[in-house]
């Protein structure tokens, strides 16, 4: 209690609130505060929207401003997200001019504002903007009356992901993981009159609940091992002091925690929910889960596993086992999928495998390439899901066979879809190629022992090229299916549409927001390949700083961490 009460009471005595907040690094949380304020605003204003008050006119507020804001929850959400992105970008300048070499502990060591969290939050926000663009018309079509609540829940889930990127404390990690999780259950089941959607939501909830319980039991064991401290920063201290005594315990705690994290990143054998949830959920939500959940959970996995580097061999064994299983399961089962969303679900599992491979070495360059891979994956996967959304809306089906010959009806759409799929397959020109190249290169140079696994990963990604190309071949080469023929008939009778814009029945692909989502993802997929060097440098610096910060925490000689619990907060931050 010494750590907290003193700082607070002195601030109270001096009446120096701003100084107190600055000292706690609260400005570093400004993007999250903006997001939370936005979602609260959406909830409050939605009470006054026309849809909610049409049965009770006496509740309506006759103010043009209120009614304008109330009927524009999407615009509010977008505005808040863009504002948050701007503040995150401002943080880069803070970092470059102030040289927070090891990051800044925010609010009593609950959150770490270092380059890793800033960089990953930037890409999370960009990805979220694309998700919002994708969901605009979808929400208006399928859930118009519940639109504002949808965006409020989506923003909550996203806020959880943002907090997870910087969590260095068990409590804040657990709470942000569950904020992400519980809001995701709601989002998956949001089409509540649709049986697939509710069923997927229930599956997600049951698997999620069980895996979060496993995760928690692991955290509880680690809490005991660390001498009653919940901060991840005491983990190096505890590991240094008694590895031999801990050796029987640590693997169990590690397996349990990785079960929880592996669930979120959908690594085999914790992947069972993935195909069902991806298929059943509303497509924008699927895109959100496949990108945002994954990126945030991976950043937490990096933070969590890093202290174990060089201490416990079982980490390497455990993570490589997960990686190999994920690559195997993802790539083999993807081969026989007929539904495009299920195919992308298994491809997600396979990508989790490649990414986990990068966590086996736990050295800074390979971790940096994992980060880079995640950033490129944001754009490629979101683009692919945007194309799935448009295609399934045009054809009213999600089966791959029904997409045959789509290239003749919608050449531009198919071209874009092909680029995203080639990016996921790791073909040159796209950023996906550089991501895979950097990752495998870093692994082999930093630890030659992983050569065998890298070769396996290469074989696995060769297999993956087959099923990605199969989709492209079906769309471009094959004879048009009935669904496509029907579509072509509509388009002819409805001449004069733009390339991507559909005919009369389409509501999604005619929308500007959808087009912007695809253009942004395409730009990201191609530009990240061109700008690979600067972004890779940022990732390298972020990882280097993270490792340096971890080294500063380790004592020179092994000390008994008798009263570890009390000293967690003040030791870690270096004030400018």
């Amino acid at each position: 209690m010494v750590f907290s009460a003193d700082a607070l009471s002195s601030a109270l005595l001096d009446n120096d609130w701003t100084g107190f907040l600055l000292k706690q690094g609260v400005p570093f949380l400004s993007p999250e505060f903006i997001l939370i304020l936005t979602l609260l605003l959406i909830i409050v204003l939605s009470l006054f929207s026309v849809g909610k008050t049409e049965n009770k006119p006496e509740n309506a507020i006759n103010s043009p401003v209120v009614s304008l804001l109330a009927s524009n929850s999407w615009n509010l959400a977008m505005g808040g997200t863009v504002l948050a992105l701007l503040t995150v970008i401002a943080h880069y300048f803070l970092f470059f001019f102030n040289h927070f070499d090891v990051g800044y502990s925010v609010l009593y060591g609950m959150f770490k504002a270092d380059l890793l969290s800033v960089a990953s939050r930037t890409f999370l926000l960009v990805g979220f903007i694309i998700v919002l663009l994708m969901s605009k018309r979808y929400v208006a079509t399928f859930m118009a009356k519940q639109a504002s609540e949808f965006f409020a829940i989506l923003l909550t889930a996203f806020t959880g992901a943002m907090f997870l990127c910087g969590s260095i404390d068990f409590v804040s990690a657990f709470v942000s993981l569950e904020t992400l999780g519980i809001s995701s259950y709601l989002l998956v089941g949001y089409l509540r009159n649709n049986q697939q959607s509710t069923e997927a939501s229930l599956k997600y909830l049951v698997y999620g609940g069980a895996s979060s319980a496993l995760f928690l039991f692991g955290l509880a064991l680690l809490y005991g091992l660390m001498g009653g401290s919940t901060s991840l920063e005491t983990l190096p201290l505890a590991l240094n002091s008694g590895v031999k005594e801990l050796s029987a315990w640590l693997p169990i705690a590690l397996v349990l925690v990785m079960a929880g994290v592996g669930f979120k990143i959908s690594a085999a054998p914790f992947h069972m929910w993935t195909p069902d949830v991806y298929e059943g959920a509303p497509t924008p939500v699927t895109a959100f889960l496949s990108v945002v959940s994954k990126l945030a959970a991976f950043v937490f996995a990096i933070r969590f596993l890093l202290p174990f580097a060089g201490h416990v061999g079982s980490v390497t064994i455990l993570v490589s086992l997960l990686a190999l299983l994920s690559m195997l399961v993802g790539n083999t089962i993807a081969l026989k999928q007929t539904n495009i969303k299920r195919l992308l679900a298994y491809s997600t599992i396979a990508h989790a495998g490649y990414l986990l491979l990068g966590l086996t070495v736990l050295q800074y360059h390979s971790l940096a390439t994992v980060l880079f891979y995640l950033f490129t994956y944001v754009f490629m996967n979101l683009g692919a899901f945007a194309c799935v959304l448009v295609t399934s809306d045009l054809l009213k089906t999600e089966t791959i066979a029904d997409m045959a010959g789509l290239g003749k009806a919608k050449p531009m759409l198919v071209a874009m879809f092909s680029i995203f799929l080639l990016g996921l397959a790791g073909m040159p020109i796209t950023a996906g190629f550089f991501a895979k190249l950097f990752l495998f290169q870093a692994l082999v140079t930093e630890n030659p022992i992983t050569l065998g696994m890298v070769l396996l990963a290469l074989v696995a990604s060769t297999v993956s090229i087959y099923y990605y190309l199969n989709v492209i071949r079906t769309m471009v080469v094959a004879e048009p299916s009935d669904a496509v023929k029907a579509l072509m008939g509509q388009t002819e009778s409805n001449a004069g549409c733009a390339l991507m814009a559909g005919g009369g029945t389409s509501s999604l692909c005619g929308s500007t927001s959808m087009r912007w989502a695809m253009i942004l993802s395409l730009a990201g997929t191609l530009l990240l390949g061109v700008l690979a060097t600067p972004i890779m440098t940022v990732c390298d610096v972020a990882m280097y700083e993270l490792i340096q910060a971890g080294k500063q925490l380790e004592p020179e000689s092994a000390q008994p961490p008798a009263n570890v619990g009390g000293v967690t907060t003040s030791a870690s931050s270096t004030n400018p």
């Binding site: 009356k145 806020t159 404390d169 942000s176 519980i182 029945t505």
Partner: protein
């Protein structure tokens, strides 16, 4: 005395947990869960967690059990039809085996737990906590060190409440009026709803 109370609660909680898993009727399972919750509160009291024990009774034993009962009333406490799944027994066996093995591995590890990092001052600290109660310190921790998760969990509770109400509301119509997009191009096309048809039972 404490030992006796502990073993009483331990035996009751394990028996009741078995009841939660295997009781023939779900209603009985809910009642078994209720008694597990009370046993937990007892364990918390034995571990100097007085505030948590009260919170456990209020949140779990009162709040959650009632919500569960409401859920059972909504869905009907009907008996499930006999299983016709050919591989059902195999799944069951694997599940029971995995549950037992998880319990076994954890228990084996737990029984050898050496509290290596016990604070030297543990005993006086414990006496201090017993003398003062935990509520003050918990409140202080929640509002200082753990203020960030505390605020985040409040947002989570709000959203969970809104979402739960939305999902279980009585009537629901997705035939939107298009209010949301009064400023966007284009208009809503009803045919677009066709490919994900609503299958509600209303």
């Amino acid at each position: 005395m404490d030992t006796l109370v502990f073993w009483f609660f331990a035996v009751v909680s394990v028996l009741m947990a078995i009841g939660v898993v295997f009781a023939p009727s779900v209603l009985y399972a809910a009642l078994c869960l209720l008694s597990v919750f009370f046993c937990m509160a007892g364990f918390f009291l034995l571990n100097n967690a007085d505030f948590l024990a009260v919170a456990q009774v209020m949140v779990y034993a009162v709040g959650l059990t009632i919500v569960l009962m409401f859920g059972l009333m909504f869905t009907g406490n009907q008996a499930l039809p006999a299983q016709d799944n050919k591989w059902g027994w195999l799944v069951k066996t694997i599940a029971v085996f995995s549950g037992l093995s998880i319990a076994g591995v954890l228990a084996k590890a737990s029984s050898s737990f050496v509290p290596k990092f016990v604070t030297p001052m543990a005993e006086p600290m414990k006496q201090n906590v017993i003398a003062n109660g935990t509520a003050t310190q918990l409140g202080e921790l929640l509002l200082t060190k753990y203020i960030l998760p505390f605020e985040l969990v409040s947002v989570l509770l709000l959203i969970a409440m809104i979402g739960a109400i939305l999902l279980s509301k009585k009537t629901f119509s997705d035939q939107g009026s298009g209010v949301f997009f009064s400023f966007d191009e284009g208009k809503l096309v009803p045919e677009a709803l066709g490919w994900k048809k609503d299958v509600g039972l209303e």
